[in-house]
Symmetry: D2
């Protein structure tokens, strides 16, 4: 059994990590931390029968874990990553601290100095569908952001085939768990319920940095990303207008996606004519992708609507983190992760 430690176990992604790893056939939880609830049991913080005790991070026996998952806020994670790395564990960091390849980019987008810049070279961007080989040998995995996971998986086949013609407009909608579990006015039930709104419009959301890095795009002329807050607990749907460099029928373009992902158990290229919805993915580690031509033309078209959906806490965070662990340790990729696409 692989021994895992989970730092930051009392946010929503921490909760999901505990839930998945507690039931994982090849893992057992060695320790949990929570700065806010240290001294309590996990079952006192969540309506869960799991009674693991919550330590302070500074008290966590790092060396007792083969794998350390960190679900800490951006900026707060990098020091802990270093300590866990030095203790010899496989480190899977769910924060943004090691997602961008350069310290400069990190500092520009996050406004925080990167104190462990020398570790950036060790970090693998943990999107298995793009970086499986590197993940296999990794010691430090930077788990992708939720919005980028969906956007990159939806656009990568076009980028890979040099078919994408920017700009791409990404109209993104996320459930409220993406905003974390810290009390705030904006995420109160009464503020969100029966409401719907865009946010960060006119600013560039930090998640765009990952999309640009992984897709080789840059700036608002190439990728325009508008996030919205959906009155649901979980799930992300992104709707994109995509222009390709030659005319395709819907089924031709779908074939291109299928080929690109034929070894990816969690990417679900939907049947022709179907668009992705939250119901396709919530509660699973799946990423559902629908490809629809803008209009019906026998001769093919060069403009498509691509819809992509993930559960922001699973494929967008904790599910993907466990998928990365499975790959890095040579376990079956889907161990503990339930339904696959095929």
């Amino acid at each position: 059994m692989v021994k895992v430690g989970i730092a930051g176990a009392t946010g929503y992604t921490g909760y999901e990590l505990v839930r998945i790893l507690h039931a994982h056939p090849s893992a057992e939880i060695a320790w949990l931390t929570s700065e806010s609830f240290a001294g309590k049991k996990f079952s006192e913080v969540f309506p869960s029968p799991y009674e693991g005790e919550l330590l302070r991070l500074s008290d966590a026996p790092l060396q007792e874990a083969d794998v350390v998952f960190l679900a800490l806020p951006h900026g707060a994670s990098m020091e802990a990553v270093r300590r866990a790395y030095d203790a010899g564990a496989l480190v899977i960091d769910l924060s943004a601290d090691f997602r961008l390849r350069s310290a400069e980019a990190y500092e520009k987008w996050y406004g925080v100095e990167h104190t462990q810049a020398d570790l950036l070279d060790q970090a693998v961007y943990g999107l298995p569908e793009l970086h499986r080989d590197e993940i296999e040998g990794a010691r430090l995995i930077a788990n992708p952001g939720c919005y980028p996971t969906a956007a990159i998986l939806a656009l990568y086949p076009l980028v890979h085939s040099a078919l994408l013609e920017p700009p791409v407009f990404v109209d993104a909608k996320s459930g409220v768990s993406g905003a974390g579990r810290k009390p705030s006015l904006k995420t109160l039930f009464v503020e969100v319920n029966e409401n719907f709104s865009a946010y960060s419009v006119g600013y560039r959301h930090r998640h765009v940095a990952e999309m640009e890095q992984e897709l080789g795009l840059s700036g608002p002329e190439e990728i325009l990303f508008i996030p919205h807050l959906l009155p649901v607990s979980r799930g992300i749907l992104e709707t994109m207008v995509v222009r390709v460099r030659k005319r395709y029928s819907a089924s031709q373009l779908r074939e291109l996606y299928l080929r690109c992902y034929d070894e990816a158990p969690f990417v679900w290229v939907l049947p022709e004519g179907e668009t992705a919805s939250l119901a396709h993915v919530v509660g699973t580690n799946l990423c559902a992708i629908g490809i629809t031509p803008v209009s019906e033309e026998n001769a093919g078209v060069d403009e498509f609507i691509v819809t992509v959906a993930i559960d922001n806490l699973l494929k967008g965070a904790s599910g993907q983190a466990v998928q990365n662990m499975n790959i890095a340790l040579g376990l079956p990729e889907g161990a503990g992760l339930g339904v696959t696409a095929r």
Copy 2:
């Protein structure tokens, strides 16, 4: 035009007061206060086109208002009530500070000393259906709590006719706006959405004190009240099992309710066979009451299910406060309050 001041305008009940009074045919808003948002416009705090400026309470020109509404937390209201009262305004207090007739009862239930106990004698319990005459001449009106408004209106006809046989079990469910607008873990969207739970079980909710006072009941042997948190923004439904002292048919008991409330424009005794729901009342100042026998017996029964629904922010708070103002000032009872029951 009646000039009104509103203290505590940036909670949910404050918002409703502004909304109603801004459109009221005989009122105009003189000033607004908010300790948290002083210096901002109302339209910067809520998605509203109303641009009134928010003052600190200590800066409010009390003497410019004919009527002062106070939507402040319990304990924080009593001093402000005194100042507004001394400034000569009609004072309508939406807190609990003047609802209970004795300072001792207040201190027992709220754990706070009552510093203005001499004003308690001036205060009228502002439930118009029970205390219309006193409200007409009042200078200080203690606006009832939301749960008690529903419970008292549902049980009063039986108490008034000496028909009620305790105990009464009140299974109460409230929307989340009842918990206020201050950020807290328990009222985050993700915690409430798709959830449902009882709270304060085993303790006695403070609102029971008002029910006992107005209905002449006492203690858990006579009235057992269990509140629950509903995943909706607004509305209260209470389901009660009620035993009466003789056998009645459903229509006989319904007649008794109709007679009791024949001068009450906002009490809606539902047609026979109908039970109250949130959809009957949300967005209105109505109190809907349904009376159903426990089983069908031609000879009548002595046990009934009474269901009662109100909008907690309207008949349960701000709507009722305006109804009280209308009565106290001799305006039409329903002015500014929309639909009535008849």
Copy 3:
């Protein structure tokens, strides 16, 4: 008092018409019809205290109404419009039957023959902000669709100033009441709740025809409209990427909108930096518009995100229908319609 008849009173738009007109200071309801519930009272079909009786349309005394509102399905409305028109009433048709100027266009988009094509010339497209003068003298008003009302109001100032550079991408999201009250699998609570999805992707939604007509655009190269179903009861939000013909600062473009709508009491051009949300408009007849530059440039930009929100049952249907009645009859434009933007 103006006497009004309402045909199709038991759908969601019919319900709103009854609610508004029942409380309208200058109107009284003469008759109601419902094919599904004829013979019942309105209060038996909705949780409302209004007890009006529901007739079959064929039994409605058309001549007793000064104004006839028709909230019937597309195709089923045109004959009834003719009869009400011939009976001498001002006719306000909430269906699509008289929105498009030509019978050919109607037949192409709706697949139904137009049997009253000679009346099309009499019909005014009832968007007061564009056609106020024509509405003043109208006998037949075609009330706009919900999606087009939002899209046209958001884009009209740019079209009017010859600034809009197509294509425009409209990512639209609507609450479920837009789909009507007829039971269907797709609008069951469990199917919609916690879900979110696009629909009609790859087909062109019929509402696009109105947008094209009123904005002078044509085809998917100029306007690309993608509707989604939101898990809320009411409200539409549309997010648009808009390119303009010269560089503007945010405040300059906002000024242009303000000038365009300075006589429109229900268009609410939001303060700089604010984006529209459902909470701005639900329960009101307002149309909220937010204008945000794609990025921050002192020199101005030529690409903007425009967000626009309406309540689909009010400004998107029944509220606008009453606004049209008010204008046509010379009543105050906002009579019975509550809050205005200024």
Copy 4:
């Protein structure tokens, strides 16, 4: 691998059966039926990657299944049960047709003649916590109703110890999936969302028959059950006022529950002071029970609030059905069912 057939696979309970059994370590799906969607793939009816074909029940190869699950409407199930039974399968019937021990009781409560009354003797009431021994050898298991599962598990320890003093008042609230997937006005999103209501008040809900049978209670004098419709997709919470025959402290009564269920992996007796909520159970096969004294008395009290929660589609239907299969076949009780209480 156990081969299973599922009749009625396109309702909500059918969907859950497919989901659980498709991932069950010791089962494989042999066939699925759906009268409404025969000829389609499962993945065309639900947003699921599982592509099993849907047959008509009359075309299902009964003999190819070791276990047949029937998720058919009441009345429609009994003939199919007979055929599957005669074909030699272990039959697990999720309808009410074999839950009541006598044909007379069935006909009284359901108003339908029981055409397979001779099979009633073979049927075991499939609540493992009460009837584990009988389930082990069963050929026909009548899977309990959702409301009774919760009520019986919450009250059984008291009945078993002869402590329960009737009457019991059960205020029950269920999510909408309990009403099935057939389109109806009452379960439309707009009707349920932001609403809350009681139903079947004054009639006796059919599920009461099971509670009476299993708990040895009878009639409205002993058990009064009031169901409500909650605006959530899944979950049941029941709040009960329970009188016991002697005084207990909270911890004493909790101990009694723990002892009663010490071999029941899915019954989760909550820590002292905690009340059950939907969040404790949704997505799991758990039944959470909270026991709280009506008031705080050191000497103990004789009145308690018992709260009990289940996921109506799992422990209230399909999860329990698989639990029953596991027990009947000698598999681990929790196989395929995820988290347990200990």
